[in-house]
């Protein structure tokens, strides 16, 4: 009796999460998949016809936006990493009693909604903003140059909005490093620089991998930054999906595009984890099981 109950406990614990996943992920995914294979227009009505051409046609139509999405997301992820790592390092090793205050400052932007923050950037980057004036004064921007409606603006928005997702995992993996390991490296003739490359960086890789995934995945599917900070020339795949659904009411194409995006992100992530090593993502535990 009790052994039976004990065996069932894990399933009970999994229950709520499982129900949630089925209701809000598997079921919608099924309807989306069905929708992606329908044909017709809103006027004539949609019909399920195994219309696989939706996938190839929509990709052919929007391949430019696909490539752009991945390039923007990739560049934004790299820039965010370059900003976040030193920041997380400073907080973890030099933060002292200010650690918590500094971490709070990192997540403080979340107290304002995503949309408001992004719209605020339109002011910051607008043609008569101080930043544009300064860039023109120092010659980094031509007289006719502007920031708004450029790839720079969209990427800057993506970096800004997803930076905390990069900082926090890196911080938490750096924070866990035993400082005696760094002392041990120095004891074994490693200079501060070598100790960083040989000990600190490898041990913080789980945070780097988690942070880059948490930044890249939402950035690749984002449409808010391109919508407010870019023009039609900077539109990303998210913008296309949004307008197909809400303006053109071409549901099958929009659904097919969503599927392609999902598959593409999945492929990129799988390759990346293979390359970065699942060990890094799972830490010591993963190593032991491997």
């Amino acid at each position: 009796m009790s052994t039976v109950r004990r065996r069932l406990v894990p399933y009970f614990l999994m229950g709520p999460g499982l129900v949630w996943l089925i209701l809000f992920f598997v079921v919608p995914l099924y309807f989306m998949g069905r929708l992606a294979l329908e044909s017709g227009t809103l006027a004539t009505g949609f019909e399920f016809t195994w219309e696989f051409a939706n996938f190839t046609d929509s990709f052919d139509r929007f391949d430019e936006q696909f490539v752009r999405s991945f390039v923007y997301a990739g560049v934004a992820t790299v820039i965010a990493l370059l900003i976040a790592y030193p920041l997380a390092y400073a907080i973890a090793f030099r933060g002292g009693r200010w650690k918590n205050a500094l971490l709070l400052a990192v997540v403080a932007p979340f107290f304002t909604t995503y949309l408001i923050r992004t719209i605020a950037w339109t002011t910051i980057l607008s043609d008569d903003s101080v930043i544009v004036d300064v860039l023109k004064a120092v010659g980094l921007l031509g007289d006719e140059g502007r920031l708004l409606a450029t790839p720079t603006a969209v990427i800057a928005g993506l970096v800004y909005n997803f930076l905390p997702f990069m900082v926090l995992p890196i911080y938490s993996s750096l924070e866990r490093i035993d400082v005696r390991l760094i002392e041990a490296a120095k004891d074994l003739y490693a200079s501060a620089r070598v100790a960083f490359w040989k000990v600190t960086l490898p041990l913080s890789m789980p945070g780097v991998v988690a942070g880059t995934l948490l930044t890249f995945i939402p950035a690749a599917g984002d449409y808010v930054n391109a919508f407010f900070l870019g023009s039609i020339n900077q539109s990303m795949i998210g913008n296309r999906i949004q307008s197909l659904y809400l303006m053109e009411l071409d549901y099958p194409t929009a659904a097919a595009l969503s599927f392609i995006l999902m598959a593409a992100i999945l492929a990129v992530v799988v390759v990346y984890i293979r390359f970065a090593g699942a060990e890094a993502l799972m830490g010591d535990e993963g190593e032991q099981r491997a």
Partner: protein, 402 residues
């Protein structure tokens, strides 16, 4: 401080430069003084132990030698060279950390190879030396494992191999056996001593375990509140403690309060508060000084009140407070007049003898051979530092010539 003491190269003459010298080294963390004005010479190839309770400054001293902390004042010399301007990674020292501090992302072999790689040793030589070192500590078959897959004792051996493979001039060990259980610790103590003899490297060992210190060391520095209370060979530290702190920290202390009646060269006559007068080797005391007379528990003889100790043995009377069977011996606590507790250890070599031992409440007489009593100063009333330093350098010299 005179000229000879200030320069460690001159201190012991040419050819016997101390491996490590400290000159007036102090370390303060804010208001807290961890190490006070320490002077020390450690001979080449010596197994030197710093022993003391936590917070006595022993680990701080070790970290200053390693280069992890900078002395607030004073200088450290390794092989006669000041290491003031050398950061940790350029010092000819290696450390075995208390928590091992093995790199979790590297294999056992990569851990051991870490220092050699940084030095730019050729790859085939690294492979050979790593293998040899792991064989020495009995872990050659685990070269490809990760540290987390090894037991605590094995991790400790990897840490030792990782330090020794670099052939440092000085090996620093910070309570390396502290995290292990007693049985493992005993085995590793003997192994450490064997390895030290084999490689001939100077070992500076930090511990709070007096037994560990007595087992392995050539010399022990007993530390308290940032100062060295006594620095001597294990036998001397145990048999002739210099202060009440040393007497109490190493072994069970039987401290009988006394006052110095008369000093005659190297001998002193003291009157114990228990009422008798004895003569013992003087320990820098002067007539009228308060001091304590120490006799180790296993040196005491216990008789009934009307018993007759051997001729010429000083004797004091007391009452048995408790008697505890300890397996190899019986421990009897006797309270003397003036509320002075004395511990007596009687070996359980004869069952009939043991059954005749007095029980609680019995009136007894304690006695000891005259050479087994020793006078100690009250801790904190140390004589001039210079007077204490001299014998230290002498012993360092002896250790070198051995």
């Amino acid at each position: 401080m005179d000229g000879t003491a200030a320069d460690p190269r001159a201190a012991n003459g040419a050819g016997s430069t101390p491996s490590v010298s400290l000159r007036g080294v102090s370390k303060a963390f804010g208001d807290f003084v961890a190490v006070q004005e320490m002077d020390l010479d450690i001979a080449q190839g010596e197994f030197f132990t710093m022993l003391g309770p936590s917070g006595c400054g022993k680990t701080t001293t070790l970290r200053m030698i390693a280069g992890f902390e900078e002395p607030t004042t004073g200088q450290i010399f390794i092989d006669g060279q000041s290491v003031e301007d050398l950061p940790a990674h350029k010092r000819p020292t290696n450390t075995v950390f208390q928590s091992y501090a093995l790199f979790p992302h590297l294999s056992v072999g990569e851990n051991v190879a870490f220092g050699l790689k940084r030095k730019g040793v050729p790859k085939d030589e690294i492979d050979r030396r790593v293998r040899e070192e792991l064989e020495r500590v009995g872990l050659a078959q685990h070269i490809n494992r990760k540290p987390s897959q090894l037991s605590g004792g094995m991790q400790q051996r990897v840490a030792l191999a990782r330090a020794l493979v670099n052939l440092p001039k000085v090996l620093l060990l910070d309570e390396p056996l502290g995290a292990l259980d007693l049985k493992l610790r005993k085995g590793l103590q003997i192994e450490l001593k064997r390895i030290q003899r084999e490689v001939g490297i100077t070992f500076i060992y930090v511990t709070h375990d007096q037994e560990e210190a007595l087992t392995m060391s050539d010399r022990i520095a007993v530390m308290n509140e940032g100062r060295i209370e006594q620095c001597d060979a294990p036998v001397a530290v145990y048999e002739k403690p210099a202060t009440t702190f040393v007497a109490g920290f190493i072994g069970v202390s039987n401290l009988m309060p006394a006052v110095v009646e008369h000093v005659n060269g190297t001998r002193a006559r003291v009157r114990l508060d228990a009422g008798i007068e004895i003569e013992a080797e003087n320990n820098g005391l002067q007539t009228g000084d308060r001091c304590h007379a120490v006799v180790r528990p296993e040196k005491l003889r216990i008789d009934a009140r009307d018993g007759t100790p051997p001729d010429g043995w000083p004797r004091v009377d007391g009452v048995v407070e408790s008697s505890v069977y300890l397996g190899t011996s019986t421990q009897i606590v006797v309270r003397l007049a003036g509320d002075v507790p004395m511990t007596v250890l009687v070996p359980n070599s004869d069952e009939r003898e043991r059954n005749r031992l007095p029980g609680g409440g019995a009136d007894v007489r304690l006695s000891w051979a005259p050479e087994h009593i020793h006078l100690v100063r009250e801790s904190g009333t140390a004589p001039a530092a210079a007077a204490q330093r001299e014998p230290e350098t002498q012993i360092a010299q002896e250790a070198t010539t051995q």
